[in-house]
């Protein structure tokens, strides 16, 4: 459909049941991803990034207490699809995912090539030969020599295993690939090599990416838009250029000042305090306890305000006519 983004998410919520009550891990998140666009989802650990990924793929653990919102693919609502239809038409078909730490979850006793071909064999029912040919092609795309098809995971370095799980996500030619912390455990040169591979794939295949990470610097290698999460919510959603150069939300500003930079004289400044517990998040702004700009309105949950054409910020400072 012309003009519709590839993916549009409205007010997505996913809460877990736990021994101590309800964990509101994802609590009203809205954003969109366009074709051939790279969206980066940033946030410190525990803010709900992996939960967002699971919600988009509808790969839900058993203890889900609440799951709601809207998930439009090419403008078509998929939330009301029964599981069978979602699996047939969306998951691994339109949207695929590299899970957090997936590179360490490869099966040690199965050859890498076979594991990467699995989605084709299982979901598409392809013959072994056809699947093998396609797998070799995707290996080339992610920068692994075809010799590695026959190897076992332990024979591959960390960087090669990460490329292999990326190949697995790409093998079915999805429109969108979600990657949850794909390079966090890797060395800088390995990281840079993988980011190069992502950029190339994006350009050659026109794939869209959602890259989830807490690493602001590495994310800038691919980001066209940035969604910053805090305590289960989106606090800022903006073009990467605007976000990195002029962050708007108070948390975004502190986050950018806390990033170590190679050629910066000043020591990076850490953000004091801790994010709130998602079992019982505060009534008002969830960032209030750590916010240097807090004012009286902040006792109430902030609305999401639009700044200009292309940016939204969940903070009372940006309410029309606000003056703290």
């Amino acid at each position: 459909m012309a003009g519709e983004p590839l993916l549009r998410v409205e007010d997505l919520r996913l809460h877990y049941r736990s021994g101590n009550g309800v964990v509101r891990a994802l609590d009203g998140v809205s954003f969109d991803v366009r074709r051939n666009e790279a969206l980066v989802v940033l946030g410190e650990s525990g803010c709900g990034k992996s939960t967002l990924a699971k919600a988009l793929m509808r790969l839900l653990p058993r203890n889900v207490q609440h799951f709601s919102g809207s998930l439009l693919v090419d403008g078509v609502e998929t939330m009301d699809y029964p599981e069978e239809r979602f699996r047939r038409e969306v998951r691994w078909v339109r949207i695929s995912m590299v899970m957090q730490a997936a590179m360490n979850a490869l099966n040690p006793v199965i050859r890498v090539g076979e594991q990467v071909a699995e989605p084709l064999r299982v979901h598409r029912g392809w013959s072994a030969r056809r699947a093998r040919e396609r797998t070799a092609e995707v290996f080339g795309l992610v920068g692994i020599s075809a010799d590695f098809l026959q190897r076992y995971p332990f024979e591959l370095s960390g960087g090669m295993r990460q490329r292999a799980v990326l190949a697995m996500a790409l093998v079915t030619e999805p429109d969108l690939v979600i990657m949850d912390e794909p390079t966090s455990a890797l060395d800088v040169l390995t990281q840079a090599g993988i980011m190069n591979a992502l950029k190339r794939i994006k350009q050659e295949l026109g794939t869209s990416f959602i890259l989830i990470t807490h690493d602001v610097s590495t994310s800038s290698e691919i980001a066209e838009r940035v969604a910053l999460m805090y305590a289960g919510q989106l606090v800022e959603f903006a073009d990467a250029r605007d976000f990195f150069r002029e962050p708007a939300h108070p948390y975004s500003k502190l986050l950018m000042a806390s990033v170590p930079r190679l050629h910066q004289k000043e020591t990076p400044v850490h953000i004091p305090g801790q994010p709130p517990n998602l079992l019982n998040p505060p009534e008002g702004c969830r960032f209030a306890e750590r916010c240097p700009s807090r004012f009286d309105r902040c006792d109430r949950d902030p609305e999401t305000f639009r700044i200009g054409e292309r940016r939204t910020v969940r903070c009372w400072l940006h309410a029309p006519g606000a003056r703290p």
Binding site: Q191, A192, E224
Partner: protein, 336 residues
């Protein structure tokens, strides 16, 4: 401390710790007895640390950083060469002297949770080294445990003394590990990737803490990391390691502003600062991966990946250290 004061102290005191031609090889066996070869984890390392300075060892995983740290601590016996602390070679120390050495050098390891015994509360974790090192008076031990907790900003100490490791956040656990490393009032701290297992948001805080403690007490700090983007703020000198060797060493700003070794240059070029323009181009990354330490390449170990390799030299002869600028040492034939 300003530079002249530091230099004055340096020349007066001489090096606290030096590594001379240090080699730590691990024998690799198949089925427990067939000798396959040796992993040359540390393979000819030389350096001197001056009293009161903070240095960083930087290198990718598997280049031998932890093996070096453990050798410096006397936990691995060097295959060749020696570690000299305050003028004495570790190899010549008897059991009592070794124990005294371990009291002089505190160790902070990578994984705080793995470093802390899960069945001990913080009080016991901090009392234990004092007991081992003969502090019999319980009140004195308690006093020192409290001081150490204050020092790492776990305060008030009463909130933490009876906690078990699993009740603490990763950052708090690492503070306890640092408190334990400090409790015997060491002259030196060796910290092996002290923040790599922690969330990005608490890393800077912990590094800052270590650095403050180091300057306040005039400790020598050897800080091991794979993250070059933070070293400027937490170390004065840098040693760059590749495949079991130190390939470049210099004062921190000198090294970051004028990297000489092609490997160091590649590392620095791969680091991104958060700039939206990064997305517009590919980064230059040397091909391939670090070599196996079982059979490292002949000559310069970086030669199979180096785009400035001099055929007939780099692939045959080991480059020695060349002084490329003042005090800046680079093991690369380009500077012959």
């Amino acid at each position: 401390m300003n530079a002249p004061a530091r230099d004055a102290r340096r020349s007066a005191a001489g090096p606290v710790l030096s590594a001379r031609d240090l080699h730590t090889w691990f024998e690799l066996r198949q089925w427990g007895f067939l000798r396959v070869g040796s992993v040359r984890a540390v393979d000819g390392v030389n350096f001197e640390l001056q009293a009161g300075e903070a240095v960083a060892f930087v290198g990718e995983s598997g280049c031998g950083k932890s093996s070096l740290a453990r050798t410096l601590l006397g936990l691995h016996q060097p295959t060749r060469g020696e570690v000299v602390f305050e003028g004495r070679s570790l190899g010549t120390l008897n059991a009592t002297e070794r124990k005294a050495y371990l009291a002089r050098v505190g160790f902070v390891q990578q994984d705080p949770y793995g470093a802390l015994p899960p069945f001990m509360d913080v009080r016991r974790i901090l009392h234990e080294p004092l007991i081992v090192h003969g502090v019999r008076n319980r009140a004195e031990r308690e006093q020192r445990a409290r001081e150490a907790l204050e020092e790492v900003r776990l305060s008030p100490p009463d909130d933490f003394l009876s906690k078990f490791p699993h009740m603490l956040s990763g950052g708090q656990q690492q503070r306890v590990v640092i408190a334990r490393a400090l409790i015997l009032r060491p002259a030196m701290i060796i910290a092996d990737e002290p923040v790599s297992m922690l969330d990005a948001s608490v890393r800077v805080e912990i590094l800052q803490l270590l650095r403050n403690i180091q300057t306040e007490h005039g400790l020598t700090l050897a800080f091991i990391t794979h993250d070059l983007s933070t070293v400027r703020h937490f170390a004065e000198r840098i040693f760059v390691m590749y495949a079991g060797r130190i390939v470049e060493q210099a004062e921190v700003n000198e090294l970051l502003n004028h990297p000489q070794h092609p490997y160091t240059q590649a590392l620095l070029a791969a680091i991104s600062d958060p700039d939206p323009d990064n997305a517009l181009h590919l980064r230059e990354v040397p091909p391939g991966e670090p070599p196996s330490l079982l059979k490292p390449p002949a000559g310069c170990r970086f030669h199979p990946r180096c785009n400035r390799m001099i055929a007939g030299t780099c692939d045959r002869d080991d480059p020695p250290d060349f002084e490329t600028r003042n005090g800046h040492l680079t093991a690369c034939w380009l500077y012959r």
